[in-house]
């Protein structure tokens, strides 16, 4: 993370060659001498005529388009899109030859892999960074089932996201069980609106998977029901989520709360912190998060945007309220130059590596390595307080 990353990592790309074949979830191999398998794609630096047989696909980094075109008539050969040149041993892709699509599902070297289980959602949050899609996407369940079985057992953590993953019901529980089976040492972090756990039986079902390291991360935006419901655009959501949290706690499932700060949630931020400390003390972590200006957040940006420089006293009060009640609290998606130094100990480098960038103005900053930087999407909408700092937190005069 210490390099000056200007461009985020691309997880989707198009193939120059299509063929009439079924989509497949494939593990990447880079050693031509390795044991071939039908669920493995081999990356070759350049085109060779004597391909090692038995791989499901051959991704060629370098080669004459015509040569590859001719070769591809006999073997599943594709030019590796240059945007995916980072692919390495153990990564997992989904190859859709008919549509010429490659989707990078998992990167072995990344610490921020996440699994999008479904794009469907029963909420419609005004700042959703991943707007829901109503279409039937049950195929994702099968794709992830296969991918999970191919992942490296030493994967430290996996995120599960959506849409709302719990809408999958039994399939959601089966996916958790598959993770436990194939990746018993991998921590699971599920992003869920928690409404499904309103049903005690569903909370019990999830708990009975007995996953050794499972946390449910649930957003909560206000201590006033209708204000939360307005932000998630779903009447009754607050009551469902709160009862869901109580049910999860009853089943000893670990919970994280995630509060996105914007103009609609800001008025109750301190009240919400008090509410959490008082009513939900069993929560093991509270993340107070800056807005990711993408998706619905971009569509509603003029309504939602508050310069973080303008809410630091509220943020500090909320953090102190939680911390003085011995709750574990973190600040996500805020740059160190925006935060008062008293809040630095709570700031985390929280942005997934594939969408994490720094600005040119950050070049001379002495604390950049400790700073979480920006969402790729936030390059155009960021605080006026962004400024390089010296080691002691003082602004560097320009």
């Amino acid at each position: 993370m210490s390099d000056m990353r200007q461009v985020a990592v691309s997880l989707h790309s198009r193939l120059a060659i299509t063929r009439d074949a079924e989509p497949a979830v494939l593990r990447i191999a880079t050693d031509p001498g390795c044991l071939p398998a039908t669920n493995t794609a081999l990356i070759l630096p350049s085109f060779i005529t004597d391909l090692p047989p038995g791989f499901a696909a051959y991704l060629v980094e370098d080669g004459e388009p015509e040569t590859l075109e001719i070769g591809s008539r006999l073997e599943p050969i594709y030019p590796l899109p240059s945007a995916l040149s980072y692919l390495g041993e153990g990564d997992i892709i989904r190859l859709n030859p008919r549509h010429g699509q490659v989707w990078v599902m998992y990167r072995k070297e990344s610490s921020t892999n996440s699994m999008l289980f479904t794009e469907q959602c029963n909420s419609w949050c005004v700042m959703c960074s991943q707007p829901p899609v109503a279409a039937d996407d049950r195929w994702l369940v099968d794709a992830w089932m296969e991918a999970i079985s191919l992942m490296a057992p030493d994967t430290a953590e996996l995120g599960i996201t959506g849409g709302e993953p719990t809408l999958l019901g039994d399939s959601f529980v089966e996916l958790l069980a598959a993770c436990k089976h194939h990746l018993p040492q991998t921590g699971l972090h599920v992003l869920s609106n928690g409404r499904g756990f309103n049903y005690l039986s569903f909370a019990q079902q999830v708990a009975s998977v007995g996953h050794p390291d499972l946390v449910i991360g649930t957003p909560l935006y206000s201590d006033i029901a209708w204000q939360h419901d307005f932000i998630v655009q779903a009447p009754g959501a607050f009551d469902q989520t709160i009862r869901g949290l109580l049910n999860l706690a009853r089943c000893d499932v670990r919970i994280e709360l995630r509060v996105v700060i914007h103009r609609l949630s800001l008025p109750r931020l301190v009240g919400l912190a008090t509410f959490i400390a008082r009513n939900l003390p069993f929560v093991e972590h509270v993340a107070l998060m800056g807005l990711e200006p993408i998706g619905f957040a971009r569509a509603n940006l003029s309504t939602l945007w508050v310069d973080p420089a303008d809410y630091q006293s509220d943020l500090e009060a909320a953090v102190n309220e939680l911390a003085s009640n011995s709750m574990n609290v973190s600040i996500y998606n805020h740059q160190l130059c925006v935060l008062p130094p008293t809040l630095w100990p709570f700031a985390r480098q929280s942005i997934s590596d594939w969408k994490n960038v720094y600005l040119p103005i950050c070049q001379p900053c002495a604390v950049r390595d400790r700073c979480g930087g920006f969402f790729h999407s936030a390059v155009r909408s960021h605080s006026r307080a962004i400024s390089p700092l010296a080691h002691d937190g003082q602004r560097v005069s320009s």
Partner: protein
């Protein structure tokens, strides 16, 4: 508040109003109590001990159902579960959960057991009503057979956490028994598997390397007495040689060197001579390297005073002393000295956190018996430390039984204890039932019996009531009106 611009979202989203209007036009009041805080303001508390400060007109509007269901005050009342409206029904679930949490220690029953291993003491403090100057070991030492029965009794408690505190007299005068009890308890715990903590309450005058080695080996905590600077301490606590202060200070240093800096705490008792010098008492604690101090009035109020043994003082005099000491402590904190007053910290935990505290004097039902049991040197069982002190003055009202013939079950289930607990519960006691600080206070039947001849007590003239009500109101005012003090006080609940 009505002029707030309605946020304009993209057309794909429903308007704020369509959600806001679900609140409706009226609200129901959830259980609440209130108390005047000062001339203009009231402090109201809810069922689970959350508080809010209201002006008199706001309080009247709230209770008359005249508050408009929007705006910051209404939202605060709703979020803290003082009111319920059409917006949400989850408040009832949360209140139930919070109420259960606040009373969760009840089902665990007794966790603190005092072993009065001897009444003998080489000090002759006038405010102490129990110690004896005697060479006759047999008359005032606990017998081993009673200690053995007491250990049986301790292991009958369902509590997972057990604290065994050795009291006196001066328990180091009967250290052989202390040693024996510790060994026995730990042996029993091989199978019982409870969390055990040991404390010795000692004046430290007789501490030596052998005792310290034993304490180190068994992780025993030391609680001692330090009343203030040398002159005050030695005047309060006479002993042959007039060197109580010197011995205490030297003992504290020895304990820290042997057991670690955080393995000794000190308690102070306020005498008439203390009243004029709260600052120098606090400074003495800071100078001795303590990070906190427990400011205690003569306890239980009236025993020592009633006998004429020492000059008493009124509770208002003590409160003035307390406020001055607290102000001085806050001043030190503002200068960067992290230092805490423990009684305030206890009350703040009750006010600001969802969790219960086990402090015996601030429970309802009362903490006697349920939170604490005292085994006296003579094999009798008392409901608290104060209860056995009362007995030394010839009143056996709170003697719950005898180790030779009673069990944990017979004592905890005895009508003598249960009747007293039921009668004195502050949820139903006259005046307490309506008091705004009821969730933070407690019931002290031994105190009220001793001072007023009645376990429930008459609260208008009760020193216990006045003390707690005034301290709690003082803390609320500091939390509300003094930002810097508020953040210091909030750091004490950790």
């Amino acid at each position: 508040m009505a002029t707030i611009a309605v946020p304009q979202l993209n057309k794909a989203f429903a308007s704020e109003d369509s959600f806001r209007q679900r609140t409706g036009k009226d609200y129901a009041l959830l259980p609440l109590r209130f108390l005047p805080l000062d001339e203009d303001r009231y402090v109201a508390t809810n069922f689970a001990g959350e508080y809010i400060v209201l002006t008199r007109p706001d309080l009247q509007a709230l209770i008359r159902h005249e508050l408009r269901p929007q705006g910051g005050l209404y939202d605060a009342l709703k979020a803290k579960h003082f009111v319920l409206d059409g917006d949400s029904s989850v408040a009832i679930d949360l209140l139930a959960c919070k109420y259960r949490t606040k009373h969760s220690l009840l089902s665990k029953l007794t966790s603190l057991f005092l072993f009065v291993v001897t009444l003998r003491c080489e000090h002759s403090c006038p405010y102490c009503q129990v110690s004896r100057q005697s060479q006759d070991r047999h008359a005032f030492d606990m017998r081993r057979c009673d200690a053995e029965r007491a250990i049986d009794f301790v292991f009958s408690s369902p509590s997972e956490h057990i604290k065994v505190e050795f009291q006196g007299g001066e328990p180091l005068l009967n250290f052989d028994l202390v040693r024996w009890v510790v060994d026995q308890v730990l042996e029993r715990n091989e199978t019982a598997r409870k969390q055990i903590a040991f404390v010795i309450a000692t004046n430290l005058a007789l501490i030596d390397d052998g005792i310290l080695a034993f304490c180190k080996a068994h992780d025993i905590f030391i609680s001692t007495s330090l009343d203030g600077p040398r002159e005050l301490h030695n005047a309060n606590r006479p002993r042959p040689g007039h060197d109580s202060y010197e011995r205490t200070i030297e003992g504290i240093a020895q304990v820290r060197a042997a057991l670690g800096a955080d393995r000794v705490a000190a308690l102070m008792t306020t005498t008439r001579a203390s009243l004029s010098q709260p600052e120098s008492i606090v400074d003495e604690y800071v100078r001795q390297g303590f990070s906190s101090l427990f400011l205690r009035a003569l306890s239980p109020f009236g025993f020592a005073v009633k006998t004429g043994a020492i000059d008493g003082y009124t509770i208002d005099e003590w409160l003035a002393f307390y406020r001055r000491a607290l102000a001085h402590i806050l001043r030190l904190n503002k200068q960067g000295v992290a230092f805490r007053e423990e009684y305030a910290a206890l009350l703040l935990r009750k006010m600001l956190t969802p969790y219960p505290t086990g402090y015996v004097d601030l429970q309802s039902p009362a903490g006697i018996g349920l939170s604490c049991i005292a085994f006296n040197y003579d094999g009798s069982i008392y409901a608290s430390d104060e209860a056995r002190m009362l007995a030394e003055m010839g009143d056996y009202t709170f003697r719950l039984g005898r180790l030779v013939s009673d069990t944990f079950e017979s004592v905890i289930g005895s009508p003598r204890l249960l009747d007293c607990l039921a009668a004195s519960m502050s949820e139903s006691a006259p005046m307490c039932a309506d008091c705004g600080v009821q969730p933070y206070c407690g019931s002290d039947p031994v105190f009220h019996y001793a001072t007023q001849g009645d376990m429930v007590g008459r609260k208008t003239t009760s020193g216990f009531c006045r003390k707690n009500m005034e301290i709690i109101k003082h803390l609320v005012r500091l939390l509300e009106d003094d930002r810097e003090a508020s953040s210091i006080l909030r750091s004490w609940i950790r």
